[in-house]
């Protein structure tokens, strides 16, 4: 190569800017640039444009913090999704195992006198005549007066708790008639087994309840776990509470609970409604440390995790044979 012309300079433009030309080519290029004003200007403009490109991209906000919801969106698709996926697989596995065990037990029951097993345990109830046995239901009192599970559906509604209404999925703004005032609820002293008795009212109540779908079982399990997380969260820390909120939102637990509640017998609706009230409060926010402590106390006082688990066991597909 003896000399370069303007066309050659344009072809070598990037190489000259980035110092990627061989020494001989650079020598000839510099000789041409010394004599050619337009090529010098072209090179200057190209170098300046390079800096402007960098500045314009930087001006798009590389010094700004991440947008709102960026992290939570990624975490919902990664960390929390994996957590629930593993949990769901575990629930499915236990579900199948429970179904197999229940089938084996049902086969063996046929050779046993049914009357001898009519007691108050949840699983045995499910295998026996539902009209004959009163199930182990959580017994809450309202304002300390009487047991809620003795109320008919109409009177429960008259207490200011509409347990049959399905909540809209959006949950914008509280609807006080549909949420339980947890301050009015308390546990009855626990009973040591229920006695078998036949009541038409109970039969009507029980007819309202049917086997839960697998989704409903998972909903109960998920909410029970979130109640446990709330109870076990460290004092003065909102990290776990925020995690509960994100899981509840990502999994749409509130609308799922509302749908589930409508399908349950009235006593069970109270339990689910109480859990729904706690979860709604977490999702809606804002919360102070005192609010979180009050919710922990309510969850403990009403034994919500174990009561939710009991509902799931009572009405699981495996148990309602």
């Amino acid at each position: 190569m003896e000399s370069l012309d303007c066309t050659d300079i344009k072809a070598l433009l990037s190489g000259l800017i980035d110092d990627r030309v061989d020494p001989a080519s650079r020598h000839h290029a510099e000789r041409h640039l010394a004599d050619c004003k337009s090529c010098r200007e072209l090179l200057d403009q190209a170098e300046a444009a390079e800096a402007m490109v960098a500045a314009s991209i930087a001006a798009l906000g590389d010094a700004e913090p991440l947008p709102d919801q960026f992290e939570s969106t990624v975490l919902a698709r990664t960390v929390y999704a994996d957590r629930h996926g593993a949990h769901g697989r575990l629930v499915n596995w236990f579900g199948w195992l429970a179904a197999a065990a229940a089938l084996a037990l049902a086969v063996s029951i046929w050779v046993v006198d049914r009357q001898t097993i009519l007691r108050g345990s949840a699983t045995e109830f499910a295998l026996a005549d539902p009209y004959q046995v009163e199930p182990e239901v959580p017994s809450y009192t309202l304002d300390g007066m009487g047991s809620l599970d003795e109320h008919s559906p109409d009177s429960v509604a008259a207490l200011g708790v509409d347990t049959t209404r399905v909540q809209p999925a959006s949950y914008h703004g509280p609807d006080s008639s549909s949420f339980i005032d947890l301050n009015r609820l308390s546990m009855m002293p626990s009973r040591s087994g229920a006695s078998a008795r036949r009541t038409k009212a109970r039969a009507v109540d029980l007819n309202l309840a049917h086997a839960l779908s697998r989704d409903d079982s998972e909903t109960l399990d998920d909410v029970s776990r979130l109640m446990m997380m709330l109870v076990q969260s460290p004092d003065q820390s909102f990290v776990e509470v925020e995690r509960i909120r994100r899981i509840a939102e990502y999994d749409r637990l509130l609308p799922r609970l509302a749908q589930l509640r409508a399908n349950l017998a009235p006593p069970d609706r109270i339990t689910v409604g109480a859990a729904e009230s706690v979860l709604y409060r977490v999702v809606r926010g804002p919360l102070s440390t005192e609010d979180v402590q009050i919710m922990r106390d309510d969850v403990n006082r009403l034994e919500l995790p174990s009561q939710l688990d009991a509902i799931g066991n009572r009405w699981s597909p495996a148990s309602s044979l």
Binding site: K10, A11, L13, S14, G15, I17, D18, R20, E41, L42, D44, Q45, A46, E47, A48, A49, E50, A51, M52, V53, A54, A55, S56, I57, A58, A59, L60, G61, D62, A63, E64, P65, L66, P67, F70, E71, T73, V74, L75, R77, T78, V79, D82
Partner: protein, 187 residues
């Protein structure tokens, strides 16, 4: 299958690399919301299948994933267009001054308009060289092309940019635009 990353590490990397990756993606796909989605997807991929070389490779890996996704996503969705914050708002344009040196903001806008007119591969290679300051070898690896192709593509991109800048001049008889390189900070 559990991820090789922890939640803490994932958050750390999002904070550390996220904003710059969003800028890089936005410079290619010209849509900030799309850029945020692209970068979110990149972090999800990082969680699902991080590079075997470990954390030392995360920066380069994320940049490569974001670059390629940004190029491909527009080619799939056909969503070109300028970024709203750099749209050619007549109210923001000033008349040409006779001085040789231009106002920085006006120059930035002019460059933005010129970049908007390039296709995604040209925008991507300009961003990798000018903004990320990658070597030719690194660019070749990111875009999965030979080094010789890097030089020729870069040349075409720069030439096209200069051509668009020239076209953007509203009064070609005026003194040609001269950028004072000392006014602009290199990223």
């Amino acid at each position: 299958m559990p991820s090789a990353l922890s939640e803490t590490k994932l958050r750390e990397w999002m904070q550390k690399a996220g904003p710059r990756l969003i800028s890089l993606s936005a410079s290619i796909c010209r849509d900030r919301h799309l850029a945020e989605e692209v970068v979110q997807e990149a972090f999800v991929k990082l969680w699902r299948k991080p590079p075997d070389a470990g954390e030392v490779a995360y920066t380069s890996w994320l940049r490569r994933v974001v670059t390629n996704m940004s190029i491909n996503i527009l080619q799939r969705t056909r969503r070109p267009g300028p970024l709203p914050e750099f749209s050619a708002d007549p109210a923001m344009q000033t008349t040409r001054r006779p001085e040789a040196h231009c106002d920085v903001d006006e120059s930035l806008q002019r460059v933005q308009r010129a970049i908007d007119k390039l296709d995604e591969p040209k925008r991507a290679i300009l961003a990798l060289r000018a903004y990320e300051q990658l070597s030719y070898e690194e660019i070749a690896q990111h875009l999965n092309i030979p080094i010789g192709t890097v030089m020729s593509r870069l040349n075409r991109a720069r030439t096209a940019l200069l051509e668009e800048l020239k076209q953007d001049l509203q009064h070609p008889e005026d003194e040609p635009l001269v950028f004072d390189i000392r006014n602009y900070k290199r990223a």
